[in-house]
Symmetry: C2
Subunit: 374 residues, 2 copies
Amino acid sequence: MNGYGDVAIVGYGMARFSRGECSDHSLYELAVTSTAEMLNELDIRRDGIDALIVSTTDGRAYTASILADMLGIRARVVQRVESMCSSGASALMTAYTYIASGLCDTALVIGFDAYDSGMLLGWDVARGDARHPAHWAAMYAKRHMQEFGTRREQLAMVAVKNRSNALGNEKAYFHNSRVISVDDVINSRPVVEPLRLYDCSIACNGAASLLLASADRAKGICREPVWIKGIGSSSVGASISNIDLARMDATIDAARQAYRMSGVEPRMVDTAQVHDSFTILEVMAYEDLGFVRKGEGGYAAEGKVSIPAINTDGGVLGRGHSSGATGVAQVVEIARQLMHRAGSRQVRDCSIGLVHNMAAAGTHAGVIILSNQQ
Amino acid sequence: MNGYGDVAIVGYGMARFSRGECSDHSLYELAVTSTAEMLNELDIRRDGIDALIVSTTDGRAYTASILADMLGIRARVVQRVESMCSSGASALMTAYTYIASGLCDTALVIGFDAYDSGMLLGWDVARGDARHPAHWAAMYAKRHMQEFGTRREQLAMVAVKNRSNALGNEKAYFHNSRVISVDDVINSRPVVEPLRLYDCSIACNGAASLLLASADRAKGICREPVWIKGIGSSSVGASISNIDLARMDATIDAARQAYRMSGVEPRMVDTAQVHDSFTILEVMAYEDLGFVRKGEGGYAAEGKVSIPAINTDGGVLGRGHSSGATGVAQVVEIARQLMHRAGSRQVRDCSIGLVHNMAAAGTHAGVIILSNQQ
């Protein structure tokens, strides 16, 4: 019989998201820093970690084994998982399956990446300039504005909120930045109309780590484990040529799977991390994750429709986008919230959280539902 | 409860292993060829494949999604898995866990890689010239010869056998080659003493594919499914500086796990694929997989100690070494044997097979035990 074994998140760590020169050496160092901090706080021996799943788009081989060596970990399963900007969710799901299948009792997930100048969608040359993510995001934005009357200001409010949240997160790229206004966003440098610079996330160096454990092991490692209740993953193919720009089909499908597996309904979610690499994507995520009806995303951004607490740590727009680290960092924030360790940004009485991680024009999406109740 | 759900291999495909120019385009084409052939023969719709796990050391991002698109597959889980030369075993294990955990019912594994000039062990600069795989293989060989009296001729016999087996495998790199003798091996060009050119595998382009399914789905897709009974994975870290060169610890540990999970003992194995990227590694694998006692590997290579039928398709030495494809191709051969579809190289009455896939000086190993009995 195949069955879902209970799997918990029992620890998390994170390095500062930043930009600037990042040599091979310092890139690995980021990953080690993020992980060592976590392990030092947990009641687990380094030879008690069964699997190391590394999430990165960095192209070099054997990264996972090299990191295991640097950390002094003798994991049995040591591998890298990659699905571009959704690598983090893919790695977490893979770690989950290694435990749920019974092959492992514990799994360490490390997501990291170096700043690069923006990944091109190199597989679809037919797209021309639209190979750059900002182009497809702009297509989404135009379509949403046309079809649902979403206003420029509503998009800007997403950036204002997430940059403001980042001020309270000492690991965020924009932690030491300033409060920005709707006008600041609208008047920032044009990228691809209607999107401006502040509508776009910044690519940066970053690392985040998670430790997962089976039900049998979780409570011995952490007093307040956070449980993985639902997992969804969906792909609509690498080409966007046939998709409806008013909806993110992979997100809708992944969310449906995760809600069904967990028994959670959208209205039960207290806090969510959504993949806001561009402001428009957060607006669409509100709708496609079921928090509001299709077309209401702009109003939710304005605060006129009630939704869960979204991107409390700054999200991709405020924390910065480090491809392999992003999905892992999203789960870190939800784990902190559900363990009630989020400090000044703690969401009150929260018990259910959701993570939404995407890649490449939304063509792949992972949705993970977590709870502090087993 | 975490538990092992039954998982079967229900189909396999393989492209010709070859060398020469391999553009990006033809590299993907290899992977598609290997997979399309398999899918066309099976009773499965392309929208019935839940996961696509790609094994390659090729550094580009989003490969798995690109291949899904090229194949017209809408898998939910789409990711690349990499652990250098053992990527194939890692991908197979990952596909297994997605099914055994209950998240997926079917999973496609595609391993592929382009020829490169030999992967350097770039993480350990302290090794100097020993960064090249032939150097550590030579260290293993010298140590084995010193400690156990293994003779040069015994190593050569591994190459003679595997190159001979490759003549019967139309997908092998050395299919159109000729019979070689022990003298040919010993007199071939020196690489690193005591190893000569014919002791070393050749890096080449290649692709291999497998379809896995849950017990519920397997029999609807294939009349003779082959069951994954045992899985072992072990890592001794990326650095070989502290290891005993007389034994491959990761292999010993991975084999122990796989035997324990499956209830199979070494003497019950009818046929095995062992990671013979160098002749000495096959000799050591005989010992470290438990087919013979430590030190008897050379005698087994001579035929003086009974062992299972090894590397019936030519192994890495005869089939060629294509990093991401190698582990997958090994499983393809065992699946063919256990389905009794191996033609002229069929092992009689075989029901249990073993796959042994390694990376980087044996620092990571995967062992998989398969059976045609559920």
